[in-house]
């Protein structure tokens, strides 16, 4: 190439035209390639707008028939074609709440262990092992939850909880029998295991990004490891941890297969977390292929739309938070 450029001054006419042709061809490929990549980037945008438009389009019949009352109606009756989203929305929120209440503290403590306490040689293997939890397909969690975890809860954990809280007001409504095994608590616990690695790996990354000099200064004035973590690392990375939390919440809200196996698919709002319930995604997965009639199908699509709007907002907040931390650290 360089030789061509060097000798460029003294070329004959024929050579010059052929060279111009080559250059023109190169230029065309460049423009075509640029256009292709730009087009592919736009495809990504079209995908998201396609999802939104198709969901809105599909849910028009249901929203037209039930209006905003769809959101607060508990009835779900395919026979009389009465549909309301209250039970699935309630189930989605309750299971995600249980999941996050457990996964957030545990996930942060694991990240604390990995970044501050763990011997250097074990950091990578333990980190990878925790991340493997995220790699296991959700259907595996489902089948394991149904055949192993739910019977275990039913036999040992739930009766004990029911007995313990039988005389405590409020809590006895929350932990009311009978112990089915499957239900909202089981689904929430499995979700907690599934989102744990998301919280851990993001927390670990942001903890690692704390400038060492800040930690060293805290140690220098005599702080204990826990005090350094609680007073320096956590406040510094708060935005990032919240971002990780939101990301995990987005996963928990939309998780389908694991929940479908163990939730019990009952369109009911129950105060007891042992009771079977349903979530938005589980209702769709369970009923969509069997749904007959436009209104039934459309109601399920409307559920999908609600789920998408909720997760979109949660994920957008997550990205915003993580971006803010990145800008501050970087």
């Amino acid at each position: 190439m360089s030789e061509v450029t060097l000798n460029g001054a003294g070329v004959s006419g024929a050579e010059a035209t052929s060279r111009a042709g080559v250059l023109r061809r190169l230029r065309t490929t460049d423009i075509v390639f640029h256009g292709l990549t730009r087009g592919a980037a736009i495809v990504v945008l079209l995908l998201l707008s396609g999802v939104i438009i198709s969901l809105i389009h599909g849910s028009i019949p249901a929203l037209g028939a039930f209006g905003l009352g769809f959101l607060v109606t508990e009835v779900w009756n395919p026979v009389t074609e009465q549909f309301g989203a209250l039970a699935p929305i309630y189930g989605t929120l309750v299971t995600s709440f249980i999941a996050m209440a457990i996964a957030l503290p545990v996930g942060i403590m694991v990240a604390f262990f990995l970044t501050e306490l763990c011997p250097q040689v074990l950091r990578r293997p333990i980190g990878i092992a925790i991340e493997l939890l995220a790699g296991i397909p959700s259907i595996i969690y489902g089948i394991w939850g149904l055949f192993v975890f739910a019977p275990f809860l039913q036999r040992y954990v739930q009766p004990a909880l029911i007995d313990t809280f039988a005389d405590v007001p409020v809590l006895n409504a929350l932990f009311a029998g009978p112990p089915y095994g499957i239900g909202m608590l089981t689904a929430g616990l499995i979700l907690a295991i599934m989102v744990l690695p998301f919280i851990t790996s993001i927390s670990r990354d942001v903890f690692d990004a704390v400038p060492p000099v800040l930690k060293e200064a805290a140690y220098g004035v005599g702080c204990t490891t826990w005090e350094v973590f609680g007073s320096v690392i956590l406040p510094f990375t708060r935005v990032g941890v919240i971002g990780g939390f939101m990301l995990a919440l987005g996963r928990a809200l939309g998780e389908t297969m694991a929940v479908t196996f163990v939730i019990g698919n009952a369109h009911k709002v129950s105060s007891s977390i042992f009771a079977p319930g349903t979530t938005i995604s589980a209702s769709i997965a369970n009923e969509f292929t069997e749904a007959v009639g436009e209104l039934y199908t459309s109601s399920l699509v409307a559920l999908g739309l609600i789920l998408f709007v909720i997760t979109f907002i949660v994920l957008a907040i997550a990205r915003y938070m993580l971006l803010r931390l990145e800008q501050r650290v970087g």
């Binding site: 190439m1 450029t5 190169l26 230029r27 490929t29 460049d30 390639f33 292709l36 730009r38 592919a40 980037a41 736009i42 990504v44 945008l45 995908l47 396609g50 999802v51 198709s54 969901l55 389009h57 503290p105 545990v106 262990f113 990995l114 306490l117 092992a129 925790i130 493997l132 939890l133 790699g135 296991i136 397909p137 259907i139 489902g142 089948i143 149904l146 192993v148 204990t224 490891t225 826990w226 973590f229 990301l247 987005g250 809200l253 939309g254 389908t256 297969m257 196996f261 995604s281 769709i284 969509f288 699509v301 999908g304 789920l307 998408f308 997760t311 979109f312 994920l315 957008a316 990205r319």
Partner: protein, 285 residues
């Protein structure tokens, strides 16, 4: 000194520190415990049903023996198609973000939307493909399943392609430009070559992600009890068969579901470990 090493305040701080460290260790063991439990049960139940029959026979009707051959074949076909459709789009879009429009307005929007798609609930993708393909064509089909999986592949590949291309030093781009190489050639000949291991990792991660996906297939590819490679007809796949068999009351079906679950998990974990070692090798270079 006012505060000595056995002052109550000092002791309390030390105690709190010890408790916190203990809790952190417990939390880690708790997390690892689940991994061991889940994989342990899976190996135990799955290996029990593993035999040659699983790979040579079709999914059985209720109450009789059989294998998972049609489901495995269906899964492979759907996965390959999804990768073939999704990867080029993903790589090109990632290239735009990293090479052409690094700071453009379009890029920041695409980056944001891509991150949303990356974690969007996969069941919503299933509904989307149902609306645009299944409802329009009037029947479930392998094509719809493959496209649904491709929609999940794209954001994964976009993300890793951009990340990996950004690791390529700008001096290499400048060197290519200085000898008069057009940008497209620089990208293909220099940047892609330098980022190849990372980009392959992205595709492997995408394959790992979709080989266990069930939700988007439920109402796109549906299922099929028989041997079928017809992409215009409903197509069986391993995850959907597991879903159906595990929830059935038949013992033979449940056993096959466990075996299928083991096959999927081993595939997915192997893929993610290979992907990881590819990037690890790159980093240590």
């Amino acid at each position: 000194m006012a505060i000595t090493s056995n002052h109550p305040l000092y002791n309390a701080r030390r105690r709190r520190n010890a408790i916190a460290k203990g809790l952190a260790l417990l939390a880690t063991l708790f997390g690892l415990g689940w991994l061991v439990l889940i994989l342990g049960v899976l190996l135990w139940e799955g290996f029990g049903g593993l035999s040659l029959q699983v790979f040579t026979e079709m999914t059985p009707p209720p109450g009789s023996d059989g294998g998972l051959l049609n489901a495995i074949a269906g899964s492979i076909v759907l996965t390959v198609l999804a990768v073939v459709i999704g990867t080029p789009i993903g790589i090109l879009a990632g290239t735009y973000l990293a090479e052409y429009g690094r700071h453009s307005k379009l890029s920041s929007v695409v980056r944001f939307i891509n991150d949303i798609l990356l974690s969007a609930p996969s069941i919503v993708v299933g509904l989307f493909i149902y609306e645009i393909m299944v409802a329009q064509m009037g029947h479930f089909s392998g094509w719809a399943g493959a496209v649904a999986l491709a929609v999940i592949v794209i954001p994964v590949v976009v993300r890793t392609t951009e990340d990996m291309l950004r690791l390529v030093p700008d001096t290499m781009r400048e060197a290519a430009a200085s000898i008069g190489l057009p940008r497209a050639h620089m990208v293909v000949r220099i940047a892609y070559r330098a980022a190849r291991a990372g980009m392959v990792t992205g595709v492997l991660l995408a394959v790992a992600r979709i080989s266990g996906e069930t939700a988007p297939l439920l109402f796109t590819a549906l299922n099929n009890q028989f041997w079928s490679l017809n992409l215009n007809a409903p197509m069986p796949s391993l995850p959907v068969v597991i879903f159906q068999f595990a929830l059935s009351p038949y013992e033979e079906w449940q056993k096959l579901a466990w075996t299928g679950a083991l096959l999927i998990t081993v595939t997915v974990l192997a893929l993610s470990i290979i992907a990881r070692s590819l990037t690890a090798a790159r980093k240590s270079q």
